[in-house]
């Protein structure tokens, strides 16, 4: 269960960011922002080989005391960032991957919507519901 989920566009501005409201959201925003650098680093590192070989799932970007940050980048350089609590040790890598996959699918749906202009904030309820299902329900 994620504590914060963010979708960042290729130009590194957020398209969607949602956190567990119980915590200071600003902290999560900052965390996501700083994680973008790590994403870029990972992307550029992988870039030596052809793009096709690049793994979409970037894995753990960096752990902090309180939480861990996972990253995922699509072929169009849209980044998904998931922040989970460090205490949540039950989350396995596969689960994180599946979460990203769902996010990606949902994001693709949003993209397919002709009423959605790429670059707009994501206001799709369907996307919201997918994200909600992944967020920590404690709030």
């Amino acid at each position: 269960m994620a504590v914060c989920i963010a979708v960042v566009a290729k130009e590194n501005y957020p398209l969607y960011i949602r956190s567990v409201p119980s915590e200071n959201e600003l902290k999560f925003h900052y965390t996501v922002h700083t994680s973008l650098d790590v994403v870029e680093e990972k992307v550029s590192a992988v870039g030596k080989v052809l793009v096709d070989q690049r793994e979409l799932y970037l894995g753990l970007l960096y752990p902090t005391e309180d939480y861990k940050v996972y990253g995922y980048v699509t072929n169009s350089k849209v980044k998904f960032v998931i922040v989970v609590e460090s205490s949540n040790t039950s989350l396995r890598d596969n689960e994180i991957r599946s979460m990203f996959r769902k996010l990606h699918n949902s994001f693709t749906d949003v993209m397919c919507n002709p009423f959605y202009n790429p670059g707009d904030l994501i206001q799709s309820k369907a996307f919201d519901s997918v994200v909600s299902s992944m967020m920590v329900q404690a709030c």
Partner: protein, 762 residues
């Protein structure tokens, strides 16, 4: 006549006429046969009650048909029961014997199944039942437009009135946003009616769920008018279903279908997202709402709308315009299965066919196989909506039912295009719950939608259906991976890097640049190709040295050898220039640019060899070109016009390479090539000979424009004299040839060897 299913009594078969077959199948659809063929007892009970027979008669019928014994109504029992009902209504005793004869179809109060024979009776009975089902019909604001009237109207496309409680028709006209398109059903046609009474009949079942077939009374709004206006009819309310505003009535569906057709003539095809967006934007709903509606309707998530999805979306828009809040998730009646079912009918109607028939075949592969009964029954009920077409529909329904409904239907129906996505058409009359009940059954058949939804959507990776594949192909997918290399930030760096990589990789065939231009100078290329490999490799090696040329070199197809690439782009470059100017004079200048790009003098010996090879080849080409040019000009006696296109001269390092464009005379090429080689040799270039054809050469030599003899010694001078080419012995000076020559000369660097011209002299 089709034999009805084996009767419960076993043994004795009761024959069922076509009409009956249709009717019964429709009724059994109404009764919601589940996959095992059992009919919902409650529905059956309602149906029986609707027949207005006394209860004991109904019990008797149940007994006789064997359902009581079995405990459920299978299709056989049901059919027998229906026949018994007919018999009972006809006054015959309830027994198997009585149903052996031809009987009129059983009449059911408020039955929407319009069967022709019943129609007359029903319309009358519908009036009464309508009162009976006043409650139900209330929800259906339709004016009891006489079915006949409705039918006659023909254009069903009208939408019904707003869902809001049956406020009478009067309200509909004004309400219907005529702005939109006249949904006002009552209005137009109406002239008379605003009557839209709902056909209560629809609701035999409607009594319970009041999900009457709106169809009945739907006043077909002037379809044409509404249709023509490209707006969405806002008001078509779902008149019939007070409870279920989300159900699409047949008229609505037909309207939607026509709208679909106005956008996309092929009903089986898809409407692209962008097209749909423009279309729906006309409804003046806010974009977020439209976006939400899209999300609800695009069930297979492919970014395009099938007819069913389109109808769903349209319906939601209409609902929204009428004030209904958008649902968070798709209402059951708008589920794909429903949508398809509903969609089928309209189509049929519009084409004068039965929906069911069309629907059935659609699903042939799956649904039909699974449920013959429901399918058949679909046909029945659906005819209801298309009251108008009763006879036809019955006919078709029967037809379809008859045999292998599926295949026949498929053949008959033009809507077979729908097939991948259409589910068997269900009656609109069915209540939502019924539909819903059926939906799961149909889900498997309607594979594209439910499956798409349920499983992880394959997205662009795979398609569950051809349409999806189409859609995927059509819609703009997420941007493909950039071909750029991995740089993270500054792309320019990467490009430079790529450039370098590319240049080195040229030999290996890796080209970072745009695709090669179509090989123009095929003629020139041809002779060059065979022997060009070495030169091309030389050129490849050389290419990296040219900042300007690299680009060009990479363009042409690799297989042509790198020799070609340089030629082509240069040619292109020169060509416009040459065309713009007098060919005779332009060559000097066009030749300049390439000449100007002197590569750094850092060629290895191997590279030099390659370069020389290339030079030789080019020279030959040049010679050929020149010869051809001169010959043509001789023939034409035209003092101008460069018939062969421009030549470009490459200079690589110390070598000059002449690139000829558009040589068209292979033999000349050969000879020219030879000429070039010879000239190169003469000039001291270690050109490699490609083909030697002395005989040709000799003839060519006569025509080749003489090159300055002093080239090697005084390039500058030659350059200066670029424009003055010594005339060939048997040629007058022609601009074209001159141009050819000139191209060589200016490029000759002071220290470079001389191009072909000198060679010609000799």
């Amino acid at each position: 006549m089709d034999r009805g299913p084996g009767t419960a009594s076993g043994g004795s078969f009761i024959s069922i006429s076509e009409n009956e077959q249709r009717c019964y199948s429709g009724l059994s659809t109404l009764c919601q046969a589940d996959s095992s063929g059992k009919l919902a007892a409650s529905k059956v009970g309602e149906l029986f009650r609707a027949s207005q027979l006394p209860a004991e008669t109904l019990h008797q019928i149940t007994d006789v048909c064997g359902a009581k014994r079995l405990g459920y109504f299978g299709s056989g029992q049901f059919y027998v029961a229906l026949k018994l009902l007919a018999a009972a209504q006809a006054g015959l005793p309830v027994s198997l014997e009585s149903i052996k004869e031809e009987l009129p179809l059983p009449r059911f109060a408020d039955m929407k199944d319009d069967r022709d024979p019943r129609y007359p009776s029903r319309s009358q009975s519908s009036d009464t039942p309508s009162h009976q089902s006043a409650a139900a019909s209330e929800s259906v604001p339709r004016a009891p437009m006489d079915r006949g009237a409705v039918r006659h109207q023909g254009s069903i496309s009208e939408r019904k009135e707003p869902w809001s409680p049956p406020p009478s028709p009067c309200r509909s006209p004004p309400d219907s946003p005529l702005s939109y398109h006249s949904y006002a059903y009552s209005i137009p046609r109406n002239g008379a009616d605003a009557h839209l009474g709902q056909t209560p009949g629809v609701s035999v079942w409607a009594q319970d769920t009041s999900s009457p077939l709106h169809y009945g009374a739907k006043p077909p709004m002037e379809h044409t008018s509404s249709r023509h206006s490209a707006e969405r009819p806002v008001d078509h309310g779902i008149v019939d279903y007070p409870d279920d505003p989300w159900r699409i009535t047949p008229e609505q569906r037909e309207y939607y279908t026509n709208q679909f057709r106005s956008v996309q003539p092929d009903l089986g095809a898809l409407i692209l997202g962008s097209v749909a967006r423009n279309f729906f934007t006309k409804s003046k709903l806010p974009i977020p709402e439209l976006s939400h509606i899209w999300e609800l309707s695009d069930m297979d998530r492919d970014g395009a709308l099938t007819l069913a999805e389109f109808c769903t979306a349209f319906h939601l828009i209409v609902a929204r315009k009428n004030g209904y809040p958008l649902p968070e998730s798709l209402p059951p009646s708008l589920l794909p299965s429903f949508a398809e079912k509903d969609a089928a009918p309209p189509k049929l109607v519009s084409e004068d066919m039965f929906f069911e028939t069309s629907g059935a075949p659609q699903q042939t592969d799956l649904v039909l196989a699974e449920r013959t009964e429901p399918l058949i029954s679909f046909e029945e009920p659906d005819p209801g909506p298309s009251l108008q077409e009763k006879s036809e529909s019955e006919h078709k329904a029967l037809l379809s039912e008859m045999i292998t409904p599926k295949q026949d239907l498929a053949e008959e129906l033009p809507q077979s295009a729908f097939s991948p996505k259409r589910a068997p058409v269900t009656t609109d009359q069915e209540k939502p719950p019924e539909r819903f009940h059926r939906a799961p059954e149909q889900d498997p058949p309607h594979e594209p939608e439910p499956h798409v939804r349920s499983r992880a959507r394959p997205r662009s990776y795979s398609s569950t259906s051809i349409e999806e594949a189409m859609k995927k192909a059509e819609q703009p997918p997420t941007p493909p991976p950039r071909p750029q290399k991995s740089h993270s930030r500054a792309s320019s760096l990467d490009l430079n890097r790529l450039f370098q990589q590319g240049t080195h990789g040229l030999k290996s065939g890796y080209l970072p640049h745009p695709p090669a231009l179509p090989p123009r100078p095929t003629a020139t290329q041809i002779p060059h190709v065979p022997p060009s490999t070495e030169q091309s490799s030389q050129k490849a090696v050389r290419q990296p040295d040219f900042a300007d040329f690299d680009r060009f070199r990479e363009e042409p197809p690799q297989e042509m050898g790198l020799l070609q690439p340089p030629q082509k782009p240069l040619r292109r470059k020169y060509h416009p220039e040459s065309q713009a100017r007098d060919p005779a004079q332009t060559f000097g200048s066009p030749a300049h640019p390439p000449g100007g790009n002197r590569p750094p003098q850092k060629l290895s010996s191997g590279q030099k060899k390659d370069v020389q090879l290339a030079i030789r080849k080019n020279k030959e080409t040049n010679a050929v070109l020149m010869r051809l040019n001169s010959e043509l000009q001789q023939q034409l006696k035209v003092g101008a016009a460069f018939p062969l296109g421009c030549c470009a001269l490459y200079t690589l390092g110390k070598f000059q390479v002449l690139t000829l464009v558009r040589l068209q005379v292979p033999p000349l090429l050969v000879s020219l090539r030879t000429l070039a080689e010879q000239s190169a040799r003469r000039m001291g270039f270690p050109l490699r000979a490609m083909h030697h054809q002395p005989a040709c050469w000799l003839s060519v030599a006569a025509h080749v424009i003489p090159v300055r003899d002093t080239l090697p010694s005084s390039p500058k001078q030659q350059q200066g004299d670029g424009k003055r080419i010594p005339p060939l012995p048997n040629m007058t000076q022609r601009p074209g040839t001159e141009a050819v020559l000139q191209s060589e000369l200016p490029q000759a660097p002071p220290t470079r060897g001389e191009p072909i011209p000198c060679h010609c002299r000799s």
